[in-house]
Amino acid sequence: MDFTFTEEQTQIRDALRRFLSETYTLERHRRIARAGSGCDPEIWAQFAELGILGLLIPQPLGGIGGNAFDALVVMEELGRALVIEPYLATALVGAGILVRAGSPAQQEILAGVAAGKTRLALAHDEPDSRWRLGAIATRATREGAGWTLKGRKAMVVDGAGADYLMVSARTESGLSLFLVPGPTERLTRAALGTHDGSSVAEIALDGVRVPADALIGSEGGALALVEAAREVAIAGLCSEAVGAMDALLALTLAYVKTRKQFGVPIGGFQALQHRMADMLLHAELARSMSYLATAKLAVPDAGERRRALSAAKFLIGRSARLVGQEAVQMHGGMGVTDELATSHYFKRLTLINASCGDRDHHLDEFAAGMITSFPQALLSRSAANASAPRSSG
């Protein structure tokens, strides 16, 4: 067991934190959010400069070949600084899929990703799929050497700004994934803003033609790719939430130590102290589960892996809710304004819960796995002679 970060990870963390604390001020955040695209080109270029856009991309393909814990470090810092740029969508999810399953031609895109020139978006969820990865209605039919895609995608992170979309669709042999350039005929993207300032898109595919080599991986093999991508995204969101909670807790702590009511700092009131102790507990539980989620990404047993990820996403959603709501409450009126960073962290934490499955969704997933993994042998022992009348004990 080892809970320390490597020297390299510490370097990434320090460099990123320094850059963000100097550059990514609340004012800058607000400006980027107002601009609507959810991505500041200058920031993005700096991310490339720092090397983090190529984090998961092997060196031969233009990246730095980092691992999941490197990603954890980065995501924590992005969460701490309220970064809304679609780093997760491009650098972890999108690049992850191409590294794993892209053809050599497709993988050529990755150098551009690492260099900050190309953005990627996974277009999988649909209007009524509510996080159920298999509930996909979009269809791809063979036409000549290529495919024709028809359907709708919803809530695609960075869907309007991405250079390439990875679109999932049903084919005869199951779910398949296609690499589609962002601007493509018969494909319309409606950009939508979100409460944290990032950008998502609704995408309509009205008979989009793609060539045969647009297929990512094997035909019918997309569900495994999407599941793996979702797992990476969950771990990333968990780390981001931990970073955001750290920052929010620190903000709140500073506030209650200075804000005076009735002549004393409100941090001196025991009722608030005890609630802040609970906030810290929940933030630390969240950190623990974030570590666990990232550690389990590499576990081959799918059941064990998914249970850990669902557990983490559930618990972190719960922690984020408690920490967020309490932080706002302790800030009083200031907490519900746009002025302080407080409300922005609160909103981001709330929206993280609604990304890649909320608390309910993941508790359900976890519980389903719990029942199948429960040793039925214990049952027979306890179920024996269930309800005969007995004399008193």
């Binding site: 969820d125 919803a154 409606a190 990032s198 009511q261 009131f269 746009d338 909320d358 309910d360």
Partner: protein, 399 residues
Amino acid sequence: MNLNFSETEERFRGEVRAFVAAKLPAALRDKVLGHKRLEREDFLTWVRILNTRGWVAPGWPRKFGGQELDPARQLILEEECALAGAPPVLPFGPRMVAPVIMAFGNAAQQEYFLPRILNGEHWWCQGYSEPGSGSDLASLKTRAERRGESYIVSGQKTWTTLAQYADWIFCLVRTSQEGRPQEGISFLLIDMKSPGVTVRPIVMLDGEHEINEVWLDNVEVPVANRVGKENEGWTYAKFLLGHERVSNAALGVSKRALRELKAIAAATPAGSGRPLLEVPRFRDRIAEVEIDLMALEVMVLRVIAMDRERHTPGPEASLLKLHGSQIQQTISELAMEALGPYAPLHQPLALSADWAGAPAGPPLGPGVTGRYFNFRKTSIYAGSNEIQRNIIARHMLGL
């Protein structure tokens, strides 16, 4: 012991229902039920309609233009209007400043101000809170210096709801530095058009403009606009706060919100062909908040009965505020959770009644998440829930 409304009360409910059905403009109703942004004129339209029936401030004494309606009927009126989709009658005029003017103002003040509250000519806002004084109201710093027949007022008020629409503001100001902080406070009525009054919007976390800072820079206020005696404003301020009894329970609007929550959950597919409303986990939570709302309603009726019995308000209103605010927050949170993956969307244009576009995501979705964010205020404003717990501990438990 009898928990039913009487026959005459039920008859009154019927009258209200019929009146609202006949008089509430459909466009205004749809705006309210569709959670569109309400403009100044929307509120005033409804005030003028209500005033034709004497229902803007039906609890007022007859001599001031009221109907001396008892609290049970006021509750019925408020609830029926809310359920039917009428805009709220804002409390600042009829339920906040008016009782103070009636109790402590002079005849001239009563004759001038009260009718203008009823007919909507004066929109009032509240100048209590200051940046440094939230829960600790008595620490306020806005100063009023006597100069002849005027006060010269300087300072800053904040969290002033809809001050951008207001004609008048009632202010607590410091007229003396002597004694305890509570002792040197006076209660002034200030014309918002006075030179030196500046309103600056505060953007809320949902991106909307609902509250403001009000800056007072050497504003000249006639001494005639002081209510009651100099330096005794704290008494009036407490009287005013004690007057907000049951409306903080937000019974009517929470009933409407619950109805809407069920509609959202019934329209949300949740897999296996079931709507979310039938998923046990989610259904349970709606059921629990509905039960909480039932209990709140009985509590409200009990407090009304208690007030009637002893002719003086007790500390129980704190229980109503505490429970009522939590219900509002729970319903708004469940509605957001029902949206599921669509919860993040922010579509401010869709909140404008003029917008011709169709919103993305579920039809009832726009505004839902913003409302969850915005409703965090319900446990902060009107005496934070921490303050309510302090009051309960001190005045009901003797701690």
